[in-house]
Symmetry: C3
Subunit: 154 residues, 3 copies
Protein backbone atom coordinates (compact mmCIF):
# COMPACT_ATOMS: atom_id res chain seq x y z
CA UNK A 1 0.00 0.00 0.00
CA UNK A 2 1.58 3.31 -1.06
CA UNK A 3 0.13 5.07 1.93
CA UNK A 4 2.27 7.60 3.83
CA UNK A 5 3.45 6.73 7.33
CA UNK A 6 0.48 7.17 9.65
CA UNK A 7 2.41 8.86 12.45
CA UNK A 8 3.84 11.38 9.99
CA UNK A 9 0.33 11.98 8.73
CA UNK A 10 -0.99 12.52 12.26
CA UNK A 11 1.77 15.07 12.86
CA UNK A 12 0.85 16.87 9.61
CA UNK A 13 -2.75 16.99 10.83
CA UNK A 14 -1.60 18.42 14.16
CA UNK A 15 -2.93 15.41 16.05
CA UNK A 16 -1.19 14.11 19.17
CA UNK A 17 -2.51 10.75 20.29
CA UNK A 18 -3.57 10.75 23.93
CA UNK A 19 -2.76 7.90 26.29
CA UNK A 20 -5.26 5.11 25.77
CA UNK A 21 -7.73 4.60 28.58
CA UNK A 22 -8.56 1.34 30.30
CA UNK A 23 -11.99 0.28 31.49
CA UNK A 24 -12.74 -0.19 35.17
CA UNK A 25 -14.92 -3.22 34.55
CA UNK A 26 -14.70 -6.75 33.19
CA UNK A 27 -14.24 -5.78 29.59
CA UNK A 28 -11.50 -4.35 27.38
CA UNK A 29 -11.24 -1.45 24.96
CA UNK A 30 -10.11 -3.71 22.11
CA UNK A 31 -10.20 -7.39 21.20
CA UNK A 32 -8.63 -9.07 18.19
CA UNK A 33 -10.07 -12.02 16.32
CA UNK A 34 -8.22 -13.14 13.24
CA UNK A 35 -7.35 -9.99 11.30
CA UNK A 36 -10.12 -7.93 12.85
CA UNK A 37 -9.75 -5.56 15.79
CA UNK A 38 -13.01 -4.77 17.59
CA UNK A 39 -12.92 -1.51 19.53
CA UNK A 40 -15.36 -0.89 22.36
CA UNK A 41 -17.72 2.04 22.18
CA UNK A 42 -15.64 5.08 23.17
CA UNK A 43 -17.41 7.97 24.88
CA UNK A 44 -16.64 11.48 23.65
CA UNK A 45 -14.24 13.39 25.90
CA UNK A 46 -13.04 16.94 26.11
CA UNK A 47 -9.75 17.55 27.96
CA UNK A 48 -9.96 14.01 29.32
CA UNK A 49 -13.45 14.54 30.82
CA UNK A 50 -16.62 12.96 29.46
CA UNK A 51 -18.22 15.37 26.97
CA UNK A 52 -21.77 15.57 28.27
CA UNK A 53 -24.93 16.76 26.58
CA UNK A 54 -27.58 16.01 24.03
CA UNK A 55 -27.71 16.98 20.39
CA UNK A 56 -30.71 19.16 19.66
CA UNK A 57 -30.77 20.37 23.25
CA UNK A 58 -27.47 21.52 24.76
CA UNK A 59 -25.19 20.83 21.78
CA UNK A 60 -25.20 21.86 18.13
CA UNK A 61 -24.33 19.73 15.11
CA UNK A 62 -20.98 21.52 14.94
CA UNK A 63 -20.29 20.66 18.59
CA UNK A 64 -21.13 17.07 17.75
CA UNK A 65 -18.72 17.03 14.83
CA UNK A 66 -15.91 18.18 17.09
CA UNK A 67 -16.89 15.50 19.60
CA UNK A 68 -16.87 12.89 16.81
CA UNK A 69 -13.39 13.91 15.73
CA UNK A 70 -12.24 13.70 19.36
CA UNK A 71 -13.63 10.18 19.69
CA UNK A 72 -11.92 9.15 16.45
CA UNK A 73 -8.59 10.31 17.86
CA UNK A 74 -9.22 8.32 21.05
CA UNK A 75 -10.09 5.26 18.97
CA UNK A 76 -6.76 5.59 17.17
CA UNK A 77 -4.98 5.90 20.52
CA UNK A 78 -6.60 2.64 21.66
CA UNK A 79 -5.67 0.93 18.40
CA UNK A 80 -2.08 2.19 18.69
CA UNK A 81 -1.88 0.84 22.26
CA UNK A 82 -3.19 -2.51 21.05
CA UNK A 83 -1.18 -3.11 17.88
CA UNK A 84 1.80 -0.77 18.47
CA UNK A 85 2.04 0.25 14.81
CA UNK A 86 -0.89 1.97 13.11
CA UNK A 87 0.75 1.33 9.73
CA UNK A 88 -0.47 -2.25 10.21
CA UNK A 89 -4.07 -1.06 9.82
CA UNK A 90 -5.16 -2.46 6.45
CA UNK A 91 -8.47 -0.66 6.48
CA UNK A 92 -11.19 0.78 8.66
CA UNK A 93 -14.05 -1.68 8.14
CA UNK A 94 -17.05 -0.46 10.12
CA UNK A 95 -18.04 2.39 12.38
CA UNK A 96 -21.15 2.59 14.56
CA UNK A 97 -22.01 6.03 15.91
CA UNK A 98 -24.47 6.49 18.75
CA UNK A 99 -25.58 10.10 19.07
CA UNK A 100 -27.30 11.27 22.26
CA UNK A 101 -30.30 12.95 20.60
CA UNK A 102 -33.60 14.60 21.26
CA UNK A 103 -36.50 13.08 19.30
CA UNK A 104 -36.36 16.11 16.98
CA UNK A 105 -32.65 16.00 16.09
CA UNK A 106 -32.11 14.49 12.63
CA UNK A 107 -28.45 15.23 11.82
CA UNK A 108 -26.73 12.18 13.31
CA UNK A 109 -25.04 11.61 9.93
CA UNK A 110 -23.53 15.10 9.91
CA UNK A 111 -22.29 14.68 13.48
CA UNK A 112 -20.69 11.36 12.56
CA UNK A 113 -18.93 12.88 9.54
CA UNK A 114 -16.54 14.44 12.07
CA UNK A 115 -15.16 10.96 12.72
CA UNK A 116 -15.52 9.55 9.20
CA UNK A 117 -13.65 12.46 7.66
CA UNK A 118 -10.87 12.13 10.21
CA UNK A 119 -10.25 8.49 9.26
CA UNK A 120 -10.24 9.43 5.57
CA UNK A 121 -7.70 12.20 6.30
CA UNK A 122 -5.44 9.81 8.18
CA UNK A 123 -5.75 6.61 6.16
CA UNK A 124 -6.82 7.88 2.73
CA UNK A 125 -8.90 5.40 0.71
CA UNK A 126 -8.27 2.66 3.27
CA UNK A 127 -9.92 4.86 5.87
CA UNK A 128 -13.29 4.72 4.11
CA UNK A 129 -15.62 2.46 6.05
CA UNK A 130 -19.15 1.15 6.23
CA UNK A 131 -21.07 2.88 8.99
CA UNK A 132 -24.33 3.38 10.82
CA UNK A 133 -25.31 6.49 12.73
CA UNK A 134 -28.42 6.87 14.85
CA UNK A 135 -29.95 8.74 17.76
CA UNK A 136 -30.02 7.14 21.21
CA UNK A 137 -32.06 8.17 24.23
CA UNK A 138 -29.07 8.46 26.52
CA UNK A 139 -25.46 7.28 26.91
CA UNK A 140 -23.36 6.21 29.90
CA UNK A 141 -22.39 9.20 32.07
CA UNK A 142 -24.54 11.53 29.96
CA UNK A 143 -21.94 11.47 27.15
CA UNK A 144 -23.03 13.21 23.95
CA UNK A 145 -21.58 10.58 21.63
CA UNK A 146 -20.23 7.01 21.61
CA UNK A 147 -18.46 5.42 18.65
CA UNK A 148 -17.32 1.83 18.14
CA UNK A 149 -15.08 0.56 15.37
CA UNK A 150 -13.91 -2.53 13.51
CA UNK A 151 -10.51 -2.33 11.80
CA UNK A 152 -8.74 -4.90 9.64
CA UNK A 153 -5.04 -5.47 10.29
CA UNK A 154 -2.32 -6.79 8.00
CA UNK B 1 -25.51 -25.06 -2.68
CA UNK B 2 -28.62 -26.19 -4.57
CA UNK B 3 -30.13 -22.75 -4.36
CA UNK B 4 -31.95 -21.30 -7.38
CA UNK B 5 -30.37 -18.42 -9.25
CA UNK B 6 -30.91 -15.31 -7.15
CA UNK B 7 -31.80 -13.01 -10.05
CA UNK B 8 -34.41 -15.51 -11.28
CA UNK B 9 -35.77 -15.64 -7.75
CA UNK B 10 -35.96 -11.84 -7.55
CA UNK B 11 -37.91 -11.79 -10.81
CA UNK B 12 -40.31 -14.44 -9.45
CA UNK B 13 -40.83 -12.21 -6.40
CA UNK B 14 -41.50 -9.24 -8.67
CA UNK B 15 -38.50 -7.36 -7.30
CA UNK B 16 -36.47 -5.04 -9.51
CA UNK B 17 -33.23 -3.94 -7.87
CA UNK B 18 -32.84 -0.17 -7.86
CA UNK B 19 -29.57 1.53 -8.69
CA UNK B 20 -27.34 1.47 -5.62
CA UNK B 21 -26.80 4.81 -3.95
CA UNK B 22 -23.49 6.34 -2.97
CA UNK B 23 -22.83 8.36 0.15
CA UNK B 24 -21.91 12.02 -0.03
CA UNK B 25 -19.41 11.76 2.81
CA UNK B 26 -16.15 10.03 3.67
CA UNK B 27 -17.60 6.56 4.01
CA UNK B 28 -18.90 3.81 1.73
CA UNK B 29 -22.06 1.74 1.57
CA UNK B 30 -20.10 -1.53 1.71
CA UNK B 31 -16.68 -2.75 2.77
CA UNK B 32 -15.24 -6.23 2.44
CA UNK B 33 -12.91 -7.90 4.89
CA UNK B 34 -12.01 -11.49 4.19
CA UNK B 35 -15.23 -13.26 3.25
CA UNK B 36 -17.45 -10.77 5.03
CA UNK B 37 -19.23 -7.83 3.43
CA UNK B 38 -20.27 -5.09 5.86
CA UNK B 39 -23.13 -2.93 4.59
CA UNK B 40 -23.68 0.53 6.02
CA UNK B 41 -26.94 1.36 7.70
CA UNK B 42 -29.40 2.01 4.87
CA UNK B 43 -32.25 4.46 5.49
CA UNK B 44 -35.73 3.43 4.39
CA UNK B 45 -36.84 5.08 1.14
CA UNK B 46 -40.07 5.29 -0.77
CA UNK B 47 -39.83 6.14 -4.49
CA UNK B 48 -36.22 7.13 -3.94
CA UNK B 49 -37.06 9.62 -1.18
CA UNK B 50 -36.27 9.10 2.52
CA UNK B 51 -39.27 7.45 4.20
CA UNK B 52 -39.83 9.74 7.16
CA UNK B 53 -41.78 9.16 10.35
CA UNK B 54 -41.88 7.43 13.69
CA UNK B 55 -43.41 4.10 14.59
CA UNK B 56 -46.14 4.52 17.18
CA UNK B 57 -46.75 8.09 16.03
CA UNK B 58 -47.10 8.68 12.29
CA UNK B 59 -46.54 5.12 11.06
CA UNK B 60 -48.11 1.76 11.85
CA UNK B 61 -46.38 -1.59 12.26
CA UNK B 62 -47.60 -2.55 8.78
CA UNK B 63 -46.06 0.63 7.33
CA UNK B 64 -42.85 -0.30 9.08
CA UNK B 65 -42.86 -3.79 7.58
CA UNK B 66 -43.16 -2.32 4.09
CA UNK B 67 -40.32 0.06 4.90
CA UNK B 68 -38.21 -2.86 6.14
CA UNK B 69 -38.80 -4.79 2.93
CA UNK B 70 -37.85 -1.70 0.93
CA UNK B 71 -34.59 -1.35 2.88
CA UNK B 72 -33.81 -5.04 2.33
CA UNK B 73 -34.18 -4.54 -1.43
CA UNK B 74 -31.85 -1.53 -1.28
CA UNK B 75 -29.32 -3.57 0.73
CA UNK B 76 -29.39 -6.23 -2.01
CA UNK B 77 -28.88 -3.53 -4.63
CA UNK B 78 -25.79 -2.31 -2.76
CA UNK B 79 -24.47 -5.85 -2.43
CA UNK B 80 -25.07 -6.48 -6.13
CA UNK B 81 -23.17 -3.30 -7.02
CA UNK B 82 -20.31 -4.40 -4.76
CA UNK B 83 -19.88 -8.08 -5.70
CA UNK B 84 -21.60 -8.12 -9.15
CA UNK B 85 -23.11 -11.59 -8.60
CA UNK B 86 -25.55 -12.17 -5.74
CA UNK B 87 -25.18 -15.92 -6.25
CA UNK B 88 -21.82 -15.49 -4.50
CA UNK B 89 -23.61 -14.69 -1.23
CA UNK B 90 -22.97 -17.72 0.96
CA UNK B 91 -25.27 -16.55 3.71
CA UNK B 92 -26.77 -13.53 5.40
CA UNK B 93 -24.93 -13.44 8.74
CA UNK B 94 -26.29 -10.57 10.79
CA UNK B 95 -28.87 -7.81 10.54
CA UNK B 96 -29.24 -4.84 12.84
CA UNK B 97 -32.52 -2.95 12.60
CA UNK B 98 -32.93 0.53 14.09
CA UNK B 99 -36.55 1.53 14.31
CA UNK B 100 -37.49 5.19 14.85
CA UNK B 101 -39.87 4.65 17.78
CA UNK B 102 -41.92 6.41 20.39
CA UNK B 103 -41.22 5.25 23.95
CA UNK B 104 -44.52 3.32 23.83
CA UNK B 105 -43.94 1.38 20.58
CA UNK B 106 -42.91 -2.23 21.30
CA UNK B 107 -43.16 -3.98 17.92
CA UNK B 108 -39.68 -3.40 16.52
CA UNK B 109 -39.37 -7.16 15.94
CA UNK B 110 -42.55 -7.25 13.81
CA UNK B 111 -41.38 -4.28 11.77
CA UNK B 112 -38.03 -5.97 11.20
CA UNK B 113 -39.68 -9.18 10.01
CA UNK B 114 -40.42 -7.29 6.79
CA UNK B 115 -36.70 -7.45 6.02
CA UNK B 116 -35.94 -10.85 7.58
CA UNK B 117 -38.71 -12.55 5.63
CA UNK B 118 -37.52 -10.96 2.40
CA UNK B 119 -34.04 -12.42 2.82
CA UNK B 120 -35.53 -15.84 3.59
CA UNK B 121 -37.68 -15.59 0.45
CA UNK B 122 -34.69 -14.71 -1.71
CA UNK B 123 -31.95 -16.88 -0.23
CA UNK B 124 -33.90 -19.70 1.45
CA UNK B 125 -32.15 -21.27 4.44
CA UNK B 126 -28.97 -19.30 3.71
CA UNK B 127 -30.98 -16.11 4.14
CA UNK B 128 -31.66 -16.83 7.81
CA UNK B 129 -29.55 -14.55 9.95
CA UNK B 130 -28.81 -13.48 13.49
CA UNK B 131 -30.37 -10.11 14.20
CA UNK B 132 -31.10 -7.38 16.68
CA UNK B 133 -34.00 -4.95 16.47
CA UNK B 134 -34.54 -1.98 18.76
CA UNK B 135 -36.15 1.42 19.07
CA UNK B 136 -34.08 4.54 18.53
CA UNK B 137 -34.93 8.13 19.42
CA UNK B 138 -34.37 9.45 15.94
CA UNK B 139 -32.57 8.67 12.68
CA UNK B 140 -30.72 10.77 10.12
CA UNK B 141 -33.13 12.87 8.02
CA UNK B 142 -36.09 11.73 10.15
CA UNK B 143 -36.04 8.29 8.45
CA UNK B 144 -38.42 5.76 9.99
CA UNK B 145 -35.97 2.86 9.77
CA UNK B 146 -32.29 2.07 9.22
CA UNK B 147 -30.90 -1.43 8.67
CA UNK B 148 -27.31 -2.61 8.45
CA UNK B 149 -26.13 -6.03 7.32
CA UNK B 150 -23.23 -8.47 7.33
CA UNK B 151 -23.14 -11.07 4.55
CA UNK B 152 -20.69 -13.90 3.97
CA UNK B 153 -19.41 -14.43 0.44
CA UNK B 154 -18.02 -17.53 -1.26
CA UNK C 1 -5.67 -22.78 27.19
CA UNK C 2 -5.39 -23.77 30.86
CA UNK C 3 -8.97 -22.78 31.52
CA UNK C 4 -11.14 -24.97 33.73
CA UNK C 5 -13.98 -26.93 32.15
CA UNK C 6 -16.78 -24.45 31.48
CA UNK C 7 -19.61 -26.72 32.64
CA UNK C 8 -17.78 -27.37 35.93
CA UNK C 9 -17.34 -23.63 36.28
CA UNK C 10 -21.05 -22.99 35.65
CA UNK C 11 -21.91 -25.53 38.34
CA UNK C 12 -19.51 -23.79 40.76
CA UNK C 13 -21.29 -20.52 39.99
CA UNK C 14 -24.65 -22.18 40.64
CA UNK C 15 -25.77 -21.56 37.07
CA UNK C 16 -28.05 -24.01 35.28
CA UNK C 17 -28.33 -23.30 31.56
CA UNK C 18 -31.95 -23.00 30.43
CA UNK C 19 -33.20 -24.58 27.21
CA UNK C 20 -32.30 -22.33 24.31
CA UNK C 21 -35.22 -20.53 22.68
CA UNK C 22 -36.00 -20.42 18.98
CA UNK C 23 -37.38 -17.43 17.12
CA UNK C 24 -40.83 -17.49 15.57
CA UNK C 25 -39.72 -15.56 12.51
CA UNK C 26 -37.39 -15.87 9.57
CA UNK C 27 -34.18 -15.49 11.53
CA UNK C 28 -32.06 -17.55 13.90
CA UNK C 29 -30.59 -17.01 17.35
CA UNK C 30 -27.05 -17.78 16.13
CA UNK C 31 -25.14 -17.88 12.86
CA UNK C 32 -21.56 -18.97 12.31
CA UNK C 33 -19.18 -17.51 9.78
CA UNK C 34 -15.64 -18.81 9.85
CA UNK C 35 -14.60 -18.94 13.49
CA UNK C 36 -17.12 -16.34 14.60
CA UNK C 37 -20.51 -17.05 16.12
CA UNK C 38 -22.97 -14.15 15.89
CA UNK C 39 -25.74 -14.30 18.48
CA UNK C 40 -28.98 -12.42 17.93
CA UNK C 41 -30.05 -9.78 20.40
CA UNK C 42 -31.53 -11.69 23.34
CA UNK C 43 -34.29 -10.02 25.36
CA UNK C 44 -34.03 -10.16 29.15
CA UNK C 45 -36.31 -12.74 30.72
CA UNK C 46 -37.35 -13.60 34.25
CA UNK C 47 -38.72 -17.10 34.86
CA UNK C 48 -39.01 -17.53 31.10
CA UNK C 49 -41.15 -14.40 30.65
CA UNK C 50 -39.93 -11.19 29.00
CA UNK C 51 -38.54 -8.89 31.71
CA UNK C 52 -40.41 -5.67 31.00
CA UNK C 53 -39.68 -2.14 32.10
CA UNK C 54 -37.48 0.89 31.64
CA UNK C 55 -34.35 1.86 33.51
CA UNK C 56 -34.79 5.15 35.33
CA UNK C 57 -38.54 4.61 35.50
CA UNK C 58 -39.78 1.21 36.70
CA UNK C 59 -36.39 -0.48 37.20
CA UNK C 60 -33.25 0.39 39.16
CA UNK C 61 -29.65 -0.09 38.09
CA UNK C 62 -29.45 -3.13 40.36
CA UNK C 63 -32.53 -4.62 38.66
CA UNK C 64 -30.83 -4.00 35.35
CA UNK C 65 -27.66 -5.78 36.47
CA UNK C 66 -29.68 -8.86 37.38
CA UNK C 67 -31.41 -8.68 34.01
CA UNK C 68 -28.03 -8.41 32.28
CA UNK C 69 -26.74 -11.49 34.08
CA UNK C 70 -29.91 -13.35 33.10
CA UNK C 71 -29.42 -12.42 29.43
CA UNK C 72 -25.78 -13.54 29.60
CA UNK C 73 -26.92 -16.96 30.85
CA UNK C 74 -29.44 -17.19 28.00
CA UNK C 75 -26.72 -16.23 25.51
CA UNK C 76 -24.58 -19.08 26.83
CA UNK C 77 -27.54 -21.45 26.50
CA UNK C 78 -27.92 -20.45 22.84
CA UNK C 79 -24.19 -20.88 22.23
CA UNK C 80 -24.25 -24.30 23.91
CA UNK C 81 -27.19 -25.36 21.71
CA UNK C 82 -25.28 -24.17 18.64
CA UNK C 83 -21.79 -25.56 19.24
CA UNK C 84 -22.55 -28.35 21.77
CA UNK C 85 -19.35 -27.73 23.75
CA UNK C 86 -18.73 -24.36 25.41
CA UNK C 87 -15.10 -25.33 25.95
CA UNK C 88 -14.70 -24.62 22.23
CA UNK C 89 -15.27 -20.90 22.89
CA UNK C 90 -11.87 -19.32 22.30
CA UNK C 91 -12.96 -15.91 23.48
CA UNK C 92 -15.88 -13.55 23.84
CA UNK C 93 -15.15 -10.92 21.20
CA UNK C 94 -17.85 -8.27 21.34
CA UNK C 95 -20.99 -7.48 23.30
CA UNK C 96 -23.59 -4.86 22.43
CA UNK C 97 -26.00 -3.94 25.20
CA UNK C 98 -29.23 -2.05 24.50
CA UNK C 99 -30.75 -0.67 27.66
CA UNK C 100 -34.39 0.49 27.65
CA UNK C 101 -33.80 3.91 29.23
CA UNK C 102 -35.45 7.16 30.11
CA UNK C 103 -33.63 10.23 28.73
CA UNK C 104 -32.31 10.88 32.25
CA UNK C 105 -30.83 7.43 32.98
CA UNK C 106 -27.03 7.44 32.53
CA UNK C 107 -25.90 4.12 34.03
CA UNK C 108 -26.12 1.83 31.00
CA UNK C 109 -22.50 0.81 31.64
CA UNK C 110 -23.25 -0.30 35.19
CA UNK C 111 -26.29 -2.28 34.04
CA UNK C 112 -24.19 -3.98 31.38
CA UNK C 113 -21.52 -4.94 33.90
CA UNK C 114 -23.95 -7.61 35.08
CA UNK C 115 -23.33 -9.44 31.82
CA UNK C 116 -19.66 -8.53 31.36
CA UNK C 117 -18.75 -9.75 34.84
CA UNK C 118 -20.61 -13.00 34.27
CA UNK C 119 -18.55 -13.78 31.16
CA UNK C 120 -15.35 -12.96 33.05
CA UNK C 121 -16.43 -15.29 35.87
CA UNK C 122 -17.14 -18.12 33.46
CA UNK C 123 -14.34 -17.75 30.91
CA UNK C 124 -11.66 -15.86 32.87
CA UNK C 125 -9.37 -13.70 30.73
CA UNK C 126 -10.87 -15.11 27.54
CA UNK C 127 -14.24 -13.80 28.68
CA UNK C 128 -13.09 -10.18 28.47
CA UNK C 129 -14.64 -8.54 25.45
CA UNK C 130 -15.00 -5.28 23.60
CA UNK C 131 -18.43 -3.80 24.20
CA UNK C 132 -20.83 -0.93 23.68
CA UNK C 133 -23.69 -0.03 25.97
CA UNK C 134 -26.31 2.60 25.28
CA UNK C 135 -29.84 3.72 26.04
CA UNK C 136 -32.63 2.93 23.59
CA UNK C 137 -36.12 4.39 23.43
CA UNK C 138 -37.88 1.06 23.58
CA UNK C 139 -37.32 -2.64 22.90
CA UNK C 140 -39.48 -5.42 21.42
CA UNK C 141 -42.24 -6.49 23.83
CA UNK C 142 -41.28 -3.72 26.29
CA UNK C 143 -38.18 -5.70 27.39
CA UNK C 144 -35.85 -3.81 29.72
CA UNK C 145 -32.66 -5.03 28.05
CA UNK C 146 -31.39 -6.70 24.88
CA UNK C 147 -27.83 -8.00 24.43
CA UNK C 148 -26.14 -9.39 21.33
CA UNK C 149 -22.78 -11.15 21.22
CA UNK C 150 -19.93 -12.24 18.97
CA UNK C 151 -17.81 -15.17 20.15
CA UNK C 152 -14.73 -16.73 18.57
CA UNK C 153 -14.58 -20.52 18.41
CA UNK C 154 -11.60 -22.86 18.21
Amino acid sequence: MDRPDIYTRLTELGVALPTATFPAAAYTMCTQSGKLAYLSGHLAKQDGIVWKGRLGETLTTQDGQLAARAVAIDLLATLHAQIKDLNQVRRIVKMTSLVNSTPAFTEQHLVTNGASEFFAEVFGESGKHARSAFGVTQLPLDACLEIELIAELN
